[in-house]
């Protein structure tokens, strides 16, 4: 397993959590989500986002609505469902546990 691969794996693991967090701040359409993720260097290629969005939507954590765009194709605005919000809260808790754990392990010497 190459370094690149490991990095990709690590990113992918938290990608879901990050998407939910972005949407927690308000609804967004994929391009906006992508922009945020790219700025944070969490995503290199965009393709990985779409399957995740679809899956989260199918899990009923997300819902979307269509909106006409003034300059392009219609946009799919995603937002968190109530279930999504609960799910995110759980993840928040897990994440703080994880960061604590990771810090604890990596700083220990």
């Amino acid at each position: 397993m190459s370094l690149e691969n490991t990095q990709a794996q690590m990113r992918k693991g938290i990608l879901e959590y990050c998407i939910l967090s972005i949407l927690d701040k308000g609804e967004a359409y994929p391009s906006e989500i992508l922009e945020t993720l790219k700025d944070a260097k969490l995503i290199v290629v965009e393709g990985t986002l779409y399957p995740l969005l679809t899956r989260l939507k199918n899990m009923e954590l997300l819902s979307y609505r269509w909106e006409e765009s003034p300059s392009g194709p219609p946009r799919k605005y995603y937002s968190l469902t109530n279930m999504g919000k609960t799910f995110l809260n759980e993840l928040n808790a897990t994440w703080s546990e994880l960061t604590t754990a990771v810090n604890q392990i990596t700083n220990k010497k």
């Binding site: 290629v45 965009e46 199918n58 300059s71 392009g72």
Partner: protein, 515 residues
């Protein structure tokens, strides 16, 4: 300079360079393949297309109106390899084997596949299918097939094999795969729309196509149709051949029977005249023959035409029935005349007269062959021998004289002439035999024989024949030219000479000895 095409991506119109479009198409195809068995795959593709439309829109401005290949390359590298679209967390839930199966089948599914394009078919859509597969104009494939068929002829079996092997493009999805097009909502709609157009165009044939709905039935009924057409064409060709033959030999009076006469060859009807007893017999035979032959020929032509053009109406059935009965009528007339003429040949009559008696050591045979007035020297094979017939001044001249050897009861040569003919009664047969003129004579020890004999034309051809019987003393011989012949020179157990020899004088006046 590059060709651009207009595409509609999710409601947005773009002018795009052709190679850029192909690149995009390939990407979507691959993505479709990858996501085929993925839950929500279609939705993902839709999302991606939306994104592509958006990114394309971002590439354009006032001065740049066309999407170029480089733009698409940038967009696609941003989107990433289609393989990345597989949601791995999803994968883990399904079993490993399922996954490999799924990816295999999905790859196959969007690989371009060979289908029979029945919508654009001439026969079974094989050429059209191959043309789709290879991206070549169908006319080229068809020409190649026709050439294969004409030279070497394996085009036909090849076509049949391909017909059986290649599946028919039944559904819209098949049609897209046949062209190597991506299976997306857009392309499917496009395909369905063009199919609807085609159906409108061919609304007349639509009912037909519905009737042959199952691919199995369709395949076999089409094979059947082709075979029927081929057989039908063969039958028509045969009928035309018979028609030409009939016109030449029957009605046209083409003189093909080689006979030496003042007017050269004889035609079929002229020969008939020489055989038939009365003029009315001949006329009836002619009518019967013409009715029978034309009925048979028309029957054959009609059957062939029915097969080729698949005519099924009462008119054609009635015609076939009529032709059958008229043919039967002609046959019965011919049969009747044939039997009547056959009766004329039934009974043999013969007369025998002595030519002379010679007391000599060796009998010489000399032959006279006729100086025939016409220049032709055609020979007719009859009864396994070369004979000849000619017609001169109302007399029929035939050639070929048989010689029979018998043992003389005394020490002298005895020569007899036997003339024979056939007729319906013995008396009439003898009359006809008496009409035969054959010159034979003995001077000294030389037997002079004509190689030909004649009889009146009014006697008709009644198997007239001439036999010369030579009775010779035991141990003596016969000489022709420089050849000495000892007929029956062998003695049998009883001390008698066995005579089993015959001679024949052919039309050229040559002697042939058979022992």
């Amino acid at each position: 300079m590059k060709k651009t095409i207009s595409v509609n991506i999710k409601g947005m119109n773009f002018l795009i360079e052709e190679d850029a479009f192909e690149l995009l198409q390939n990407y979507i195809n691959k993505l479709t393949a990858v996501l085929q068995n993925e839950k929500g795959g279609k939705e993902i593709i839709e999302d991606v297309e939306l994104r592509i439309a958006e990114l394309c829109g971002l590439q354009l401005n006032e001065r740049k109106q066309v999407i170029e290949k480089e733009d698409i390359e940038t967009i696609l590298s941003t989107l990433g390899d289609p393989d990345l679209y597989i949601d791995e967390s999803e994968q883990e839930t399904s079993s490993q084997t399922n996954n490999s199966n799924a990816s295999n089948s999905s790859n196959q599914a969007t690989d371009k596949r060979l289908f029979r394009d029945v919508e654009n078919a001439t026969i079974a859509g094989i050429c059209a299918g191959i043309a789709n597969y290879l991206h070549i104009d169908v006319v080229i494939i068809r020409i190649i097939f026709v050439l294969f068929f004409l030279f070497g002829g394996f085009g036909f079996p090849l076509y049949i094999i391909l017909w059986i092997v290649i599946p028919k493009a039944n559904s819209t999805i098949d049609r897209l795969r046949m062209r190597g097009k991506a299976i997306t909502v857009d392309t499917v709609r496009e395909e369905v729309e063009s199919a609807a157009e085609r159906i409108n165009k061919e609304s007349k044939n639509f009912a037909n196509r519905m009737r042959n709905d199952g691919s199995y039935n369709e395949r076999f009924s089409r094979i059947g149709r082709i075979i029927t057409s081929v057989i039908g064409s063969g039958i028509i060709a045969f009928g035309l051949f018979l028609l030409v033959m009939f016109l030449i030999f029957g009605v046209g009076g083409f003189q093909f029977i080689p006979v030496q006469s003042d007017y050269g060859f004889l035609s079929f009807s002229e020969l008939g005249e020489l055989v038939m007893e009365t003029q009315s017999d001949y006329q009836w035979a002619w009518i019967g023959g013409v009715v029978m032959a034309s009925s048979i020929i028309l029957f054959i032509l009609l059957v062939g035409t029915k097969m080729v053009f698949r005519i099924r109406n009462t008119w054609s059935k009635l015609s076939l029935g009529f032709l059958f009965f008229s043919g039967l009528f002609g046959f019965i007339v011919c049969l009747f005349i044939g039997l009547k003429t056959g009766k004329e040949m039934a009974i043999e009559g013969e007369i025998e007269q002595e030519i002379g008696t010679v007391n000599t050591e060796q009998l010489f045979i000399e032959t006279n062959s006729p100086k025939i007035s016409t220049a032709s020297t055609y020979e007719v094979k009859s009864k396994g021998r070369w004979g000849m017939m000619s017609i001169e001044n109302d007399r029929i001249v035939e050639s070929g004289i048989h010689i029979e050897y018998r043992l003389s009861k005394d020490s002298l040569y005895h020569v007899y002439q036997n003339l024979s003919a056939h007729c319906q009664s013995h008396r009439k047969a003898v009359d006809k035999a008496q009409n035969i003129k054959h010159n034979a004579g003995i001077t000294g020890s030389v037997l002079t024989l004509d190689s030909h004999y004649s009889f009146p034309k009014s006697d008709k051809l009644r198997d007239q024949d001439v036999y010369i019987i030579v009775e010779f003393p035991a141990g003596k011989s016969v000489k022709w030219n420089n050849k000495v012949i000892y007929p029956g020179s062998e003695m049998n157990n009883n001390g008698n000479y066995e005579i089993d020899d015959n001679g024949y004088i052919n039309s050229k006046g040559e002697y042939e000895h058979w022992d």
